[in-house]
């Protein structure tokens, strides 16, 4: 991953901080000729910005690791200047994306192929909300997998605990929704604290299996329906009379969607904050080499437990949002397949990156819904059986895709732009004649 070009180092944090005051808004002119605009182009279609922003923005997160902090922009170089401008503008893509997400319910923009109805229709919003929810869940799960290096096979347990505890808090304890939600998240945090403190006593693959065992125990418990509480295979639907009226019915899908967006923002912010905190640096150390962290005089156990409880709590909150979105708790949420799905999302998007798990979660959820439609479409039904049968199984396609990503794309989709750039710069800069540089200084197009 050595795609450190001079371009990126000039766009480092120091340059961007100064840019923050000057670049007032996003710019819609083609990327190559964009110049930092003072004025905002208000006539722009928001989606165009977002799409372009996603491409380059993902690459940018990696540049931040490689770029020299505090590098001085070379003002003489006009091309560099232009690139800096693009970077200045694109640095704001998460804000632009968030605004786009927030106003999406007001839009009637048709998105043929991607969604069934127009953007603001309840069906599309429901699917989008699910996508964002799973994107956030994957981001929370990556706190364990990609940030601390803990391969947990039991994350679905905490999601399901938040889901069921909130539902049962309303059904059995007659709590109003807000109190039930607090109850659900509190239960999840307590369970994560308890089981985490126990399972973190073993390391490596042992930890994976203990978490798998606990999650399996939870899954069995939910399915066996002890005392008629969990509803067994059918699950329990949330009581309509205890939910706020603004969250009920198909006409209020937009409210649920905004809750999902809020949950996503909260998760991304929490993970960002935690990873950049002192504890986050210790997590990174644990991921790289736990023994050396111990040698430095730190006890990894406590740090890992904090990561575990925090990831568990975020998953529990996700369970509350899921309860609102789907209107009930079903045992599928607790199954080991649910954890595996989270794992697929994180690896697909790129574990250990800021936006990778989110991207993976959104893509996976969208794909698993749309692939179901594909399976029932006439285009697939007309194919010969050799092609039709695999295409009609979303889980097969996702499993195969997962293997392909692990195999061909280590680091996931989020590292793809950096890889492409590395390949391109390796091609565009021929090695100086006779001299083979040990580490090319990067391909500057200038």
């Amino acid at each position: 991953m050595s795609a450190e070009t001079p371009i990126t180092s000039t766009g480092g944090p120091a340059a961007n901080r100064s840019a923050a005051t000057s670049a007032g808004g996003t710019d819609t002119s083609p990327a190559m000729t964009a110049i930092p605009a003072e004025g905002t182009d208000t006539s722009s279609a928001d989606t165009a910005i977002v799409e372009r922003g996603t491409d380059t923005g993902l690459a940018e997160t990696h540049c931040e690791h490689g770029g020299e902090p505090g590098a001085i922009p070379r003002t003489g170089d006009s091309i560099t200047n232009r690139w800096t401008g693009v970077h200045r503008a694109l640095r704001w893509w998460p804000i632009a994306l968030l605004i786009t997400l927030l106003v999406a319910p007001y839009s009637a923009l048709p998105v043929p192929g991607l969604l069934d109805g127009p953007l603001g229709s309840p069906g599309s919003l429901q699917l989008l909300a699910l996508c964002l929810l799973y994107g956030a869940l994957a981001t929370g799960y990556d706190l364990l997998l990609g940030r601390t290096g803990l391969l947990s096979f039991g994350h679905a347990l905490y999601f399901a605990t938040g889901l069921y505890a909130t539902d049962l808090g309303m059904l059995e304890l007659q709590l109003p929704f807000a109190a039930a939600a607090v109850f659900g998240v509190a239960c999840t945090v307590l369970l994560a604290l308890l089981l985490g403190s126990v399972s973190l006593r073993v390391t490596g693959i042992g930890f994976s299996m203990v978490t798998l065992a606990f999650a399996q125990a939870g899954s069995i418990l939910v399915q066996r329906n002890p005392g008629g509480i969990t509803g067994g295979e059918e699950g329990r639907s949330a009581p309509a009379d205890l939910l706020p009226p603004g969250l009920l019915g198909i006409e209020n899908t937009a409210n649920l969607y905004w809750i999902a967006v809020g949950y996503l923002v909260l998760t991304v912010a929490a993970v960002y904050w935690a990873v950049n905190s002192p504890a986050g640096r210790v997590w990174e150390g644990i991921k790289e080499n736990e023994r050396r962290v111990e040698v430095l005089g730190l006890r990894p156990y406590g740090y890992k437990l904090v990561a575990f409880v925090m990831a568990g709590g975020l998953a529990g909150l996700g369970g509350v949002v899921y309860l609102l979105l789907t209107g009930g708790a079903t045992p599928q949420a607790a199954s080991s397949d649910a954890t595996l799905a989270l794992l697929v999302m994180v690896v697909l998007g790129g574990s250990g990156t800021r936006w990778g798990p989110l991207l993976g979660g959104v893509l996976y959820t969208w794909a698993s819904h749309r692939l179901g439609d594909l399976a029932n479409s006439t285009a697939v039904a007309d194919l010969p059986a050799v092609l039709r049968v695999p295409l009609s199984q979303p889980l097969f396609l996702l499993g195969a895709l997962f293997v392909a990503v692990v195999y061909l794309l280590p680091g996931g989709l989020a590292r793809l732009p950096a890889r492409i750039r590395a390949a391109r710069s390796a091609r565009s800069v021929p090695a100086p004649t006779g001299v083979r540089t040990a580490r090319p200084t990067g391909g500057t197009p200038a």
Partner: protein, 288 residues
Amino acid sequence: MDTVVLLLCTGLGLGALYFLVASGLSLIFGLMDVLNFAHGALLSIGAYATWWAGTEAGFPFWLAVPFGTLLGTAAAVLLELFLIRPLYSRPRDQILATVGVGLAIPALLMGVWGADSRPFPQPALLSGTWHVLGATVPVNRFVLVAAAALVLLTLRLFLARTRYGLIVRAGVEDRAMVTALGIDVRKAFTLVFAIGGAAAALGGALGGLYFGSVSPGQGTGLLIFAFVVVVMGGMGSVTGAAAASVGVGLVQQFANYYTGAGLGDLSVVVLLAVLLLVRPRGLTGRLA
């Protein structure tokens, strides 16, 4: 009394099934440090191949079982050669790749033969019951136990008496040392995968007798209990896996009968957690 005998025989049959899955899993993990999440899928391949050969292709049962086992073995070898081998330098990705295969293969089986379970062909010779100490026990329980005992014996002989068995045992102890001595461990890897796949596929073929039907999710459902067995028996130990599978099978049957359905499964899973915490290296104290 007859209930106890029936439970004992059924528990032993279930334990035999667990052993067939767990022996390969244990060897693979012991030698290669790969937790093979696709092992349940190998079992499903064996089960479906046997079912297909026995019903749609019209093979007699005694030919269908070797056919299923052979197909499962071939699948295991292909899995090792094409997916695990290119990832030797990335241990975590090996696990992830097997997770993907473990998702894809049951889904493919579901796509081809449907999600519902299919009745498994029961040959007349094996579908009867025997009277043992006043209890009426289906014959297939004994078939499973006999097959597992045979596999255990063969594996013991292979590991103790052959050159490749020696390499495998040495590899489980210290892989780096074996490589340093100039032995190509990769051949042993493929071999161990083939053995594990064969045992799992045989388990699938005979598991069809035990359950009376085949369904796509069967293998994955058994896999968790096989993990329990592997951990309890000590990873890499075949004899340990045999002892642990008998224990797990019996505990599950008795607990399910006497304390209410589901509690046996739950107790086994909790047992795994407790055991890992108390003795992270497993019962036999081997490397974990």
